[in-house]
Amino acid sequence: MIVRSPEPGGRVPPGGALRVAFKVEPGHEVLAARLLVDGQDVTDASGQRVAGTFPPSRVELVYSPPGGWSPGAHEAAVVLAPGAAPEAWTFTVS
């Protein structure tokens, strides 16, 4: 389960946030996922929300670039675990 906002092909305003939420598999590293925007790893600049169940069940990464998004098409990708294939999608800033 991956929740993406904006969704693939969706739109976000220049001041908006990119949000991706996913389920944590039991025993997996909670903060292992990486978020890439236009090829750059922005994980450390993202908020990493962790739902307070035990064991952990859900993580959400929230990213908004300093100064806002540049207009046009962007690509986001999330890598849920080291070595996993990236889940990529595109969205538009307008």
């Binding site: 590293e29 035990f54 064991p55 908004s64």
Partner: protein, 287 residues
């Protein structure tokens, strides 16, 4: 350095702009397709112990500790309106926390949306509430859910601004209702966010064991403006397992433990309870 990083993260959180406001659709509910006996029988003492395993989940707590003041303590006497929540999702047993509320059917447990539903996704199974749970003791029994409910924004999109959930539990074997047995807290909506909160929970992730109830006592410290409406943050070092525990002011629950930031320790966030939460409570009380 830590202070600077904390400030940067806080500014990051504060700087995120909000999404457009959402309408307030009704709550989503699902009748539990399990009998009371089936759920109560499922939660053996062994399963409850193993739902708070010794082997801790990896990760978390990498970031700096926030400097928001709080005190955290185990109450000398447990108020049985507060308790521990157990449930199963895709074959994995999880724990959360919850609060028995005053309601028309005397059977409502208030908790986080993510403690009843995947958001988006299915409602959980084997959902049970154990009031005043303490180190495996169940002084007021195990109460099985007959209906689970959450807000539409949580059910459809996992929106942490609306991370509220409720369970309507069956009467016990003696035919008594939940609040007949354990009493209850009230609940309030659309209240000022600036309050002095008593956040209750059963933290289970390290360094806690999940066997004891704790209370974080703190003033509102910050709002998370990356959520709409902004969620509320208080200083608190409770860990996973405390989700769903009530934030009490006076005798009323005004929010629940919802989430923390993996890169900003010792801050607990909870949703601001507005009209959507009120609709959920109304639906639960009449289920």
């Amino acid at each position: 350095m830590k202070r600077a990083v904390t400030l940067l993260l806080t500014l990051f959180l504060a700087g995120l702009l909000s999404a457009p406001a959402q309408a307030t659709p009704p709550a989503h509910a699902k009748a539990v397709g399990q009998s009371r006996e089936e759920v109560v029988t499922y939660w053996t003492a062994k399963r409850m112990r193993e739902a708070t395993p010794v082997a801790r989940a990896k990760g978390g707590g990498k970031g700096p500790k926030a400097a928001y003041p709080f005190t955290r303590y185990e109450p000398a006497t447990y108020n049985p309106a507060h308790g521990k929540v157990f449930f199963t999702d895709n074959g994995v047993n999880y724990v959360c926390s919850g609060t028995a509320l005053t309601s028309g059917n005397e059977s409502v447990v208030w908790t986080a949306g993510h403690c009843v539903n995947e958001g988006p996704g299915a409602f959980y199974t084997n959902w049970a509430f154990v009031p005043a749970y303490k180190d495996g003791a169940r002084p007021h029994g195990t109460w099985a859910a007959r209906t689970l409910l959450t807000t539409a924004p949580w059910r459809s999109g996992g929106d942490f601004s609306y991370d509220e959930g409720a369970a309507v539990v069956s009467a016990n074997a003696a035919g008594q209702t939940l609040t007949d047995v354990v009493g209850s807290r009230g609940i309030a909506f659309n209240q000022p966010a600036e309050q002095h909160y008593l956040s209750h929970g059963y933290p289970a992730a390290s360094p806690f064991s999940g066997g004891r109830m704790f209370i974080c006592e703190a003033d509102l410290a910050l709002r998370d403006n990356s959520a709409n409406p902004p969620t509320m943050g208080i200083g608190c070092d409770m860990t996973g397992g405390s989700s769903g525990g009530g934030w009490v002011v006076g005798n009323n629950v005004l929010s629940v433990n919802s989430y923390g930031y993996g890169n900003l320790r010792n801050v607990m966030f909870g949703p601001y309870q507005g009209t959507v939460a009120q609709q959920l409570y109304t639906s639960a009380g009449s289920s």
